[in-house]
């Protein structure tokens, strides 16, 4: 019986650094480890002793792709700690900011990180000569999403306007209307994107795990809601720590999470669509039906299609929110109070948790952060345990590539979880 060893030294086109080691002997997996070796940065350590109004700017630097998520989650957790309820305008502007970042990140993953896999290229730049129109379309859509982030946030990367209890400066209706035109013009492109993604062949693979995300019966939510799952979890955000357990593992700098009494779970666009399909816009549902996509789906490779689907919804939703608001400066004074607060949001890659304890001067005494990829690492390993035996006959190189593609489908972000993947598959 042949032995195989899959060794992916670094998994490319993902954010951050990781290695996959798989050892196969007599057609059985004898060892499988997803090692995240992105160096630890100790946010939970150095945030202690810092002041409440610095935290949002600092935690944005956890991740270059989802600064808005870290900022919003931290701000909401700190507001919960100081019992501050932001205005309706602030909540709407935060939605615009968060939706724009999910759109931007989904488009980035679909075209710049995942599409080269499905089309057989090593990078999006390598696709330019043969797929120029597609690349142009991708860049155009991404620019519109970034433009919206910039108008509301002041800067597309690491926004500067969000603060506790509001915004340092609110965008003018005029600027919002200008980006609204661009959003409307891009709607057909979002529908075409789903068509392209749905037409790409994905590996036949299924593993039914638990899909976890937040849900708000009124809106396909990103910022606020109860934590729900396809297996009946339904809890308040402050109950998170009682249900999700985080464990440190010896071979990786990322921790692993499981649901108490059950096991691994998946977060991200697929989990959102599996739980909240009913809340998507009619246009998005129509597009899903046209492309024969029926949710729930238990194939992690379908995560990319779920991303394309939510981009259709979010594009429409952003234009609606812009119509609903005419932002005016508001009083954003913060009354500092001691307390403890928690918040859950949907980062582009899935569930994100922040929790803080403040003293009466507003100085952080304790900080806890659990990122989407930390939530997903165990599920990735479990998928690999199931998938590899099903494709055992493939030569080592192809086997390793499909493992790498599976991990990339999750759209992981390993600098968040501590950060590129390489798969090492060895058959002895």
């Amino acid at each position: 019986m042949p032995e195989k060893k899959i060794n992916i030294e670094y998994i490319a086109r993902v954010e951050g650094e990781s290695t996959l080691d798989v050892h196969i002997s007599k057609n059985e997996i004898t060892d499988l480890k997803l090692k995240v070796w992105e160096p630890p940065r100790f946010f939970e350590g150095f945030l202690v002793g810092r002041k409440y109004d610095e935290i949002s700017d600092m935690v944005m630097r956890i991740c270059g792709i989802c600064p808005v998520s870290h900022s919003t989650t931290a701000i909401r957790a700190l507001e919960n700690a100081m019992q501050i309820t932001p205005s309706a305008q602030t909540k709407k502007l935060r939605r615009l900011l968060s939706y724009s970042q999910v759109m931007s990140s989904d488009i980035l993953h679909i075209y710049m990180l995942a599409a080269p896999d499905f089309l057989g290229y090593e990078s999006v730049l390598a696709m330019v000569p043969k797929h120029l129109d597609l690349v142009k379309k991708a860049i155009k859509m991404k620019m519109v999403a970034n433009e919206l982030t910039e108008i509301v946030g002041g800067r597309a990367a690491n926004p500067v306007t969000p603060k506790i209890n509001g915004f340092y400066q609110v965008p003018s209706k005029e600027r919002l209307n200008s980006v609204k035109k661009h959003l409307e013009a891009m709607q057909q492109d979002t529908v075409d994107t789903l068509k392209v993604v749905a037409s790409l062949p994905i590996p036949e693979f299924e593993r039914k795990t638990e899909y976890v995300c937040i849900r708000n019966p009124e809106e396909y939510t990103i910022n606020e809601g109860r934590l729900v799952s396809t297996e009946g979890l339904d809890i308040l955000e402050e109950e998170y720590r009682n249900h999700i357990i985080e464990n440190q593992i010896s071979y990786s700098n990322a921790k692993q999470c499981r649901i108490k009494g059950r096991g691994d779970f998946m977060v991200g666009a697929l989990a959102r669509v599996n739980n909240n399909y009913d809340l998507l816009s009619d246009k998005a549902k129509e597009a899903a039906e046209e492309n024969h996509l029926k949710f729930p789906v238990y194939n992690p490779f379908a995560n990319t299609a779920a991303q394309a689907l939510e981009v259709i919804h979010l594009t429409t939703r952003c234009t609606e929110i812009i119509d609903e608001i005419d932002p005016k400066p508001e009083d954003t004074t913060v009354n500092v109070k001691a307390g403890e607060g928690h918040a859950l949001t949907e980062a582009p890659r899935g569930l994100l948790y922040h929790g803080y304890k403040l003293n009466e001067k507003g100085i952080v005494e304790k900080a806890e952060i659990t990122t989407p990829t930390t939530h997903n690492v165990l599920s990735m390993e479990q998928d690999l345990y199931k998938m590899i035996p099903e494709i055992m006959d493939l030569p080592e190189g192809k086997l390793a590539l499909q493992c790498e593609e599976l991990i990339r489908a999750y759209d992981p972000c390993f600098s968040c979880s501590v950060h590129t993947i390489k798969a090492n598959v060895k058959k002895d």
Binding site: R41, F42, M112, L132, R155, N158
Partner: protein, 272 residues
């Protein structure tokens, strides 16, 4: 690829053909990947400048990456926080003609430098229960380990400054890196000075320019994300803050947030 192949200039997708392209490697140490991420926006002139290079190494952007080959330009994102990275950095230096830092982490260790202000174990224990498998040293900026040709500040490095660097390295001229403070850009925008008029604790006077005075333009004081400008007068600004009612502790926090291992503010931040 043929010359230009009909790509239009306004889309930013112009493929520049040259006899032999210069090789560009983009490497990552400890960082948030935000500067690399910003490169993946592929916008406008920046994309044009990027396609003028043969990118041999960019793990976040491509699958085929060439290790240990000579490159004309190396961009380093992130700072050193473990010993393997020191070796890696030395290898990259040996293999590159021009080496530049990409952003604040590489330039001065930025936020990660906060770990240096407290005992290592105290910080590490708060993030991990079992420290036996965690290998981390203090956060060291790139120019403390190897010779650096150009320091590009920014959190992240903006499009204009990135394009300026890529174009200048391409033709072999010295890039223009703004030597002045954020105040100069703020004045050029015609903003009302929030430090003087509103007594808000703005770090603009001691912060390296390049963002276009982003924060004051968006109604808030600069929080020093780009780090110190060279020859900043930190004590003078600290005095002004004190006059405006900030406590010593609040002043310390302002000057330490993003300055990392830089010595420019040490008269204010040195507590020994």
């Amino acid at each position: 690829m043929g010359r230009n192949q009909g790509y239009t200039r306004n889309s930013g997708l112009e493929v520049i053909e040259m006899a032999e392209k210069k090789k560009l490697g983009i490497f990552k140490l400890t960082s948030c990947a935000g500067c690399q991420m910003r490169l993946l926006y592929y916008q406008h002139r920046e994309l044009e400048a990027l396609t003028a290079y043969d990118i041999t190494y960019f793990k976040m952007g491509k699958r085929d990456n060439l290790e240990n080959i000579k490159v004309d330009v190396a961009l380093i994102e992130g700072c050193v926080t473990n010993s393997e990275q020191i070796d890696e950095l030395k290898r990259i230096r040996e293999n590159s003609t021009i080496l530049a830092t990409l952003g604040g982490c590489a330039t001065r260790s930025s936020l990660w430098g906060l770990k240096n202000n407290k005992p290592e174990k105290e910080i590490e224990e708060k993030a991990y229960k079992d420290l036996s498998t965690i290998h981390s040293i203090k956060a060291i900026p790139v120019n403390d380990v190897v010779k650096v040709d150009y320091l590009l500040p920014g959190c992240p490095v903006g499009e204009d400054e990135m394009t300026e660097f890529l174009q200048s390295a391409l033709v072999g001229r010295r890039p223009f890196i703004k030597p002045h403070s954020v105040c100069v850009e703020c004045k050029m925008k015609g903003n009302l000075c929030i430090l003087v008029a509103k007594k808000e604790p703005c770090m603009g006077p001691v912060t390296a320019a390049g963002c276009g005075a982003l924060c004051p333009t968006n109604g808030r004081p600069c929080y020093n994300c780009r780090g110190p400008m060279i020859a900043a007068n930190a004590p003078a600004l600290a005095k002004e803050f004190k006059k405006n009612g900030l406590s010593d502790e609040e002043i310390y926090l302002k000057f330490t947030a993003f300055s990392g291992l830089s010595k420019v503010y040490e008269e204010v931040t040195d507590r020994a």
